[in-house]
């Protein structure tokens, strides 16, 4: 009997104990030591290219370029998504220019702080363009560093299948990010990159200069006046009455443009009651319910929000457009138009920005006061588009968004 007991005990011990320590202390149950803090890397010796070098690789609209050489750039982080006005992207800048990196992570400011030096191993990444439009009313878009666009597939026989909607894709995955993006030291505040000011002429120059060094830079523009080039007040906001349904340009029955019409009237107000930087879901709902948009035309011109019935064939139900919109409220991005040194600047703000619901001061909106803005200079179809990081009454340090 003793033998049997011994055998059973020995069996249990053998099966149980891969490693005594691991098995008997599978987890620490007392207080843990604090984890590893931030550890910066130093790859200065490996840097062999500048942001301008990377931008220069993009030479033809519609032809994203995969970087095949071992190019490593270095830049300082100038943007933060903490306020929600930058989404899944990060901007870095060196002495030759600035670049948008499509990181693909939300709340990336937790890991990538303003002032942090980033080293980007570019091999395997793609430089592409977003927002290019040909023709007189178009222009260059924003150059971005990311992965091959979604939909790009390479097969073993070498055949490639490229139907990407965008020229570049987000890095998204932590494993991909850590192969390409390395975090260096954090520059202390006084020594960080300061916003650059441009003249109107310089802003105009970016229209067709695809590799413009100004685009993506941390910028400060001073003395902006709230009006468009037609001397009116204007916003641009595109929303979809039922966002769950298709709403491409081919489904114009499901699109509403809050913007100045092509037959705009000189000096007219085209702000549609929007007095905030953009529209949170709550603000959007309040405005549509207030009736201020009742006379706005549906995208296909079939009627106006306050009166027209939706098409049963398109929507699957028959209701007033207004009721459809109220049933599907959502946060909306809004562009406000300002004039700066004779150039029209579009300040575009996300509906998810923390300052989305902050009022643009009335004295600014009626033109009594000008403002200074700090943010990232972007570009869409040749036009200067500004991603706001902060705004002030002109000549002061009184923030009007925080």
């Amino acid at each position: 009997m003793k033998k049997i007991l011994f055998v059973i005990a020995a069996f249990a011990a053998l099966v149980s104990c891969k490693s005594l320590k691991e098995e008997w202390e599978p987890v620490v149950t007392c207080k843990y030591d604090d984890g590893i803090g931030y550890e910066a890397v130093d790859m200065d010796a490996d840097v062999n290219a500048t942001i301008a070098d990377i931008k220069a690789l993009y030479t033809s609209h519609g032809a994203p370029v995969e970087i095949t050489e071992d190019l490593i750039i270095k830049g300082e982080v100038t943007s933060s998504d903490e306020d929600g006005n930058v989404y899944r992207e990060i901007y870095i800048q060196d002495e030759t220019g600035a670049m948008c990196v499509k990181l693909g992570r939300t709340s990336s400011y937790d890991d990538y702080k303003v002032g942090m030096i980033l080293y980007v191993k570019c091999k395997g990444l793609v430089i592409g363009e977003y927002g290019y439009k040909s023709g007189n009313y178009g222009g260059a878009g924003l150059l971005q560093l990311g992965l091959k666009g979604d939909g790009w597939q390479e097969y073993e026989d070498g055949f490639t299948d490229v139907e990407p909607e965008y020229e570049t894709a987000y890095l998204d995955l932590q494993t991909i990010i850590r192969k390409h993006v390395f975090r260096g030291p954090i520059v202390i505040a006084p020594n960080r990159i300061q916003p650059v000011s441009f003249t109107g002429e310089q802003l105009n120059s970016i229209k067709n200069d695809t590799q413009s060094p100004y685009v993506s830079m941390l910028t400060k523009l001073s003395g902006l006046t709230y009006r468009n080039a037609d001397y009116g007040r204007e916003v641009f906001c595109l929303f979809y009455p039922d966002p769950n349904l298709n709403h491409s340009k081919y489904e114009s029955w499901n699109r509403v443009f809050l913007s100045a019409p092509t037959d705009r009237v000189y000096g007219e107000d085209y702000t549609f009651g929007i007095t905030t930087w953009s529209l949170t879901k709550r603000r959007f709902l309040a405005l549509v319910q207030s009736g201020v948009w009742d006379d706005v035309e549906i995208g296909d011109g079939s009627g106006v929000i306050g009166e027209a019935y939706t098409s049963y064939e398109n929507f699957g139900y028959e209701e007033l457009y207004k009721d459809v919109i109220i049933a599907h409220p959502g946060a909306q991005s809004v562009s406000h138009y300002f004039m700066y040194d004779g150039v029209e600047v579009q300040v575009r703000t996300s509906g998810y920005a923390r300052f989305a619901d902050v009022e643009i001061p009335e004295d600014v909106r009626i033109g009594e006061k000008d403002i200074d803005i700090v943010g990232i200079l972007s570009r869409y179809q040749g036009g200067a588009q500004f991603t706001l990081l902060d705004a002030f009454y002109a000549g002061t340090d009184i923030s009007i968004i925080k």
């Binding site: 005990a9 098995e23 599978p26 843990y32 590893i36 992965l147 991909i176 349904l245 049933a327």
Partner: protein
């Protein structure tokens, strides 16, 4: 030696005295099985007076016995029988009469293995609103429960498909089911197997002496010092599925000459296991009890016990993750911190229970007991919390290959390169990808400006103060009638709150609502969890440090009182019982914070100087987060009728019917209790009709029970919570009008083979159909919004496909033919009560000889189904964004997943030795799942999330479901020593 001589003289003197006169007193009665009331043959009765053994007899075939020739005096009658717990009964012989003790009932023992709360892994349901609390079947001497209780526990079998809260569990006469959730309370005494071993159990709608009960059986744990087996017991147990080591010791004095009994039980459960990383125990338990028998009329019991400790939890994952890890036991809750495993989700509890029970027996016809019981302490559960930061869970859907690539073009997931990279990192099990990345969490906090933690570990508390009173009596006015009854009352105040458990390297955290802060960033007061603090501190959010309460803090107040009575009438072999109960229950919420979203009254925003206006509900009433809610009040009642007919002593036929009108539980009533006082509209009681008929045979080594049951439950309600992608907010789904029907058979048997001595064949079959039978309604609210979520213009949605899925015809390619309309279905597929097999069977061999036992059982489980979420069964979900339902969409969205059938093989071996008839040493070895089947799903749930970002914008897709799996081969070895 001196003692022996004195004893010898005393015995001789006593003998002489006996010769001097012939006493006429005596004791007689019948020993019966507490379960089934059948007589117990060959039970050994030892009569003692003090330490002296006076007489020994055994019971006859009909369980009767008589001990004649006794002097007047107080004796202790010790009753022993194989398969039963030893019982001691004080008995007084008066005036030379033969005392008739009528029925002396014995409680059966379960020899194979102990099933308790430890037998089930702690499943982490992650705020899903689903629950997976198992029902624990105790063996007693019921052949079905004895086999099913152990063998079916590995698949979390629920008897008759009933939820755990339907199983009524009593301790010392007090109902112990959780006041807030109704869940069975076994975790309170987890690890105290010796102290709680003595218990009695009935099934279905049967009645016990201490309660009328419900429709899913009653378990009464005695828990008194006198009920613990006398002597010292110690055991060492190792277990490969849950923890490495259990040490347990107990000591009970038994009734002493001075009328006192003392008992103590302590245990420790430590370590991890072979199967699930991150799951561990560091749990202890203690029990101390004392009884004082003042005289035959008055006995006082006191006990206090608790089970302090921690237990790492297991999280369900989707099948893609299990496949990537090639491990169905993958647990996403843990990661490495400084090279050591750390589980983010740990249950930390210490809820002591203390009670005083007073038994009095003024006559042989009446006995009663009164108990005051108090439960207190803390019940915490840690989890990660974060503010404006990435979801840290490794199996978050955006980290998986399927998020980047899917063959279905409608899903627009077409980046094969990223999918390949994600696959590669999972396949290679890169530690910071496939497990929680604690290092990154600490780095983020270290980088955060001003030391504000972006990630913290919270500890959610559900701390109960539960005061109970129960009085029960039994009155026997005549030999053919027993009247039992009682009254009870419960005063419960449960505080729900959370505290900062660990700042994870940061210096402080802020008490703001993450979702509200995102949605109402320009009005910061709305994001405050403690608006009063914000107002009184000039617009500053409260800074939080370790141990500070935050987020939410409210009381659940629960009061109920009730009474019951049951008459048991015996006419020859026929016994009839009829009884009823009535009760009154009320509960309400008391918020302890003003939440910024629902301030309830006027405040002045310190930043703007403007009035903060209250928010209103659809009826125009102010929504409050602070103070008392309205009170929900319910009148509850139930009635039962049972008939029991004994045939020939060993066989009986019995049946029960009952009707129950029960209040919902607190957790089924409040729409979003963490944020506001709002209750579900049209609250009502659930109505249950239950019936069963049974045949049982017990004798000559044969045990058989066959049961047929039929139960309907109507008007149940349920609240579920989940993140809603369509609304981009944390959401609550309140379901009302859930009806169920449970019917089926139970069959259990154990019979000798008659070929090989001591070898029996045993088996059970549970074949049931537990289905949903109604179309409930659903109301959806968001935590950060006052208004109800409206679908197609309506706030109240019918969950149209809750009870069935229409099945449509198929062509040769298994596609639904074009032109098939939504009403052209060929049949309606029922939806089943989930997470328990509706077919469960076991067949095996049991060999018992010379204190050896060997059990080998083969089991089969089938027709287990996944827990359904209601959102997928609404017209909204099946129609999709184009508001057009198709047969394909209906089938896809509403089908309930059926788990694959499972085969298992279990082996149990045990042996005990007696040394000098004084010491007992033994072992039991239980090997489960010898076939090492690691593909058996034991539960899970559908995520309440919809994929709406499609190319065609014509339909919705499901998020993949999450599952729990059963461990493969595992064993438990228990070595014990008793004397």
């Amino acid at each position: 030696m001196t003692k022996r001589i004195i004893l010898a003289f005393a015995a001789a003197f006593a003998s002489l005295a006996l010769f001097a006169q012939t006493p006429t007193g005596g004791i007689k009665g019948t020993v019966i099985n507490r379960n089934g009331r059948q007589p117990v043959e060959n039970a050994r009765l030892l009569l003692k007076m003090g330490a002296a053994e006076i007489a020994t007899v055994t019971t006859a075939e009909d369980g009767t016995f008589i001990i004649p020739g006794l002097e007047d005096g107080v004796y202790i009658l010790v009753i022993e029988a194989p398969e039963f717990l030893e019982t001691q009964v004080p008995v007084t012989v008066n005036d030379g009469y033969v005392k008739n003790m009528f029925n002396l009932s014995l409680t059966g023992i379960q020899r194979v293995a102990e099933v308790d709360d430890d037998s089930f892994a702690a499943f982490d349901m992650d705020d899903s609103g689903f629950n997976d609390n198992p029902t624990i079947l105790f063996g007693s001497n019921d052949v079905f429960n004895n086999i099913a209780g152990y063998n079916f526990s590995s698949v979390r079998f629920r008897a008759r498909g009933f939820a755990s809260e339907a199983q009524e569990v009593y301790l010392a006469g007090v109902k112990m089911n959780d006041a807030v959730t109704g869940y069975s309370p076994f975790s309170l005494w987890s690890g105290l197997n010796e102290a709680t071993r003595s218990k009695e159990t009935v099934n279905g709608a049967e009645v016990l002496d201490i309660a009328l009960g419900g429709f899913n059986g009653i378990t009464n744990v005695f828990g008194t010092a006198g009920e613990m087996r006398k002597g010292l017991r110690a055991s060492v147990l190792t277990n490969s599925a849950l923890y490495r080591l259990r040490l347990m010791a107990s000591y009970a004095t038994g009734p002493m000459d001075n009328g006192w009994s003392f008992a103590a039980n302590v245990s420790a459960r430590l370590g991890g296991n072979d199967w699930i990383d991150g799951v561990y125990y560091r749990s202890f338990a203690y029990y101390f009890g004392a009884d004082k028998v003042f005289n035959r009329e008055h006995t006082l019991h006191f006990a206090i016990f608790g089970a302090p400790g921690e237990r790492g939890a297991q999280m369900a994952s989707i099948q893609e993750v299990y496949d990537l890890m090639n491990d169905n036991m993958y647990n996403a809750n843990w990661g490495y911190q400084n090279g050591k495993v750390r589980n983010s989700r740990v249950r930390k509890t210490h809820e002591p229970v203390a009670y005083i029970k007073y038994d009095f027996k003024p006559s042989d016809k009446f006995n009663g007991s009164a108990t005051v019981l108090y439960r207190f302490g803390t019940n915490g559960y840690t989890a990660l919390d974060w503010y404006n930061a990435q979801d840290p869970r490794p199996d978050y859907y955006r980290n998986l290959p399927s998020y980047f690539y899917d063959e279905n073009p409608d899903l627009k997931r077409n980046n094969f390169a990223k999918a390949s990279e994600a696959y590669r990192s999972w396949y290679n099990e890169e530690a910071d990808i496939v497990h929680l990345d604690w290092d990154r969490i600490y780095q983020v906090n270290a980088l955060s400006a001003d030391g504000r933690s972006k990630y913290v570990q919270e500890e959610r508390h559900t701390d109960q103060r539960d005061l109970n009173f129960a009085f029960n009596f039994k009155y026997r006015p005549a030999t053919w009638v027993n009247i039992m009854g009682g009254v009870n009352a419960k005063f419960n105040r449960t505080e729900f709150y959370k505290v900062i458990a660990d700042l994870l390297g940061g210096k402080y955290f802020l008490d703001v609502d993450n979702f509200a802060d995102r949605d109402y960033a320009s009005t910061p007061y709305m994001a405050q969890n403690d608006l009063l603090y914000y107002v009184e501190n000039e617009g500053k959010s409260r800074k939080l440090y370790v141990g500070d309460k935050y987020g939410y803090d409210y009381y659940a107040h629960i009061r109920n009182v009730g009474g019951w009575i049951n008459g048991e009438f015996t006419i020859g072999d026929l016994a009839i019982n009829v009884g009823g109960r009535i009760g009154y229950e009320s509960f309400w919420r008391e918020g302890l914070h003003h939440k910024g979203l629902f301030p309830g009254t006027y405040f002045t925003d310190p930043l703007t100087g403007e009035h903060v206006k209250p928010t209103y509900d659809k009826n125009g009433e102010i929504i409050t987060s602070y103070g008392d809610s309205k009170k929900a009040r319910f009148l509850t009642y139930a009635g039962k009728l049972g008939i029991n007919y004994v045939i020939g002593g060993n066989m009986r036929v019995y049946g029960n019917v009952g009707y129950f009108n029960d209040a919902p539980n607190f957790n089924q009533v409040f729409l979003s209790p963490r944020t506001r006082n709002t209750m579900v509209d049209n609250l009502t009681t659930s109505k249950t009709f239950s019936s069963d008929i049974n045949w049982q045979y017990s004798g000559n080594g044969i045990n058989i029970r066959a049961t047929a049951y039929y139960t309907t439950v109507k008007d149940q309600s349920k609240i579920m919570s989940a993140y809603d992608d369509v609304q981009n907010a944390f959401s609550n789904f309140a379901l009302s009008g859930i009806d169920q029907r449970h019917m089926g058979i139970e069959f259990g048997f154990k019979v000798p083979t008659y070929i090989i001595p001591d070898l029996s064949i045993q088996g059970v079959l549970a074949l049931g159909e537990a289905v949903y039978t109604s179309t409930p309604t659903m109301v959806q609210t968001l935590d950060n919004s006052a208004s109800l979520v409206s679908y197609n213009g309506s706030d109240v949605m019918n969950v149209t496909f809750w009870k069935y899925t229409p099945i449509y015809p198929r062509d040769v390619n298994n596609n639904i033919p074009e032109g098939t309309g939504i009403n052209d279905y060929v049949r309606l597929q029922k939806h089943y009560i989930p997470s328990t097999p509706q077919t469960a069977a076991s067949i095996g061999l049991a060999w018992n000889h010379n204190y050896w036992f060997v059990d080998l059982d083969f089991e089969y489980f089938d027709r287990a189904y996944l827990d359904m979420n209601p959102l997928y069964r609404t017209d909204y979900a099946v129609m999709g964004p184009d508001y057009k339902a198709t047969p394909e969409e209906i089938e896809y969205m509403t089908t309930q997943e059926k788990f694959a059938p499972a085969f298992l093989l279990n082996l149990s071996v045990g042996k005990s030795f007696y040394i000098q008839r004084k010491y007992q040493i033994g072992f039991s070895f239980n090997a489960k799942n010898l076939l090492n089947n690691t593909n058996v799903k034991t539960g899970g749930y559908e995520q309440t999330r919809i994929v709406d970002n499609t190319d065609a914008k014509s339909r919705f897709y499901r998020f993949p479901a999450k599952y729990f799996y059963m461990p493969g081969f595992n064993y438990m070895l228990n070595v014990y020593f008793r004397f």
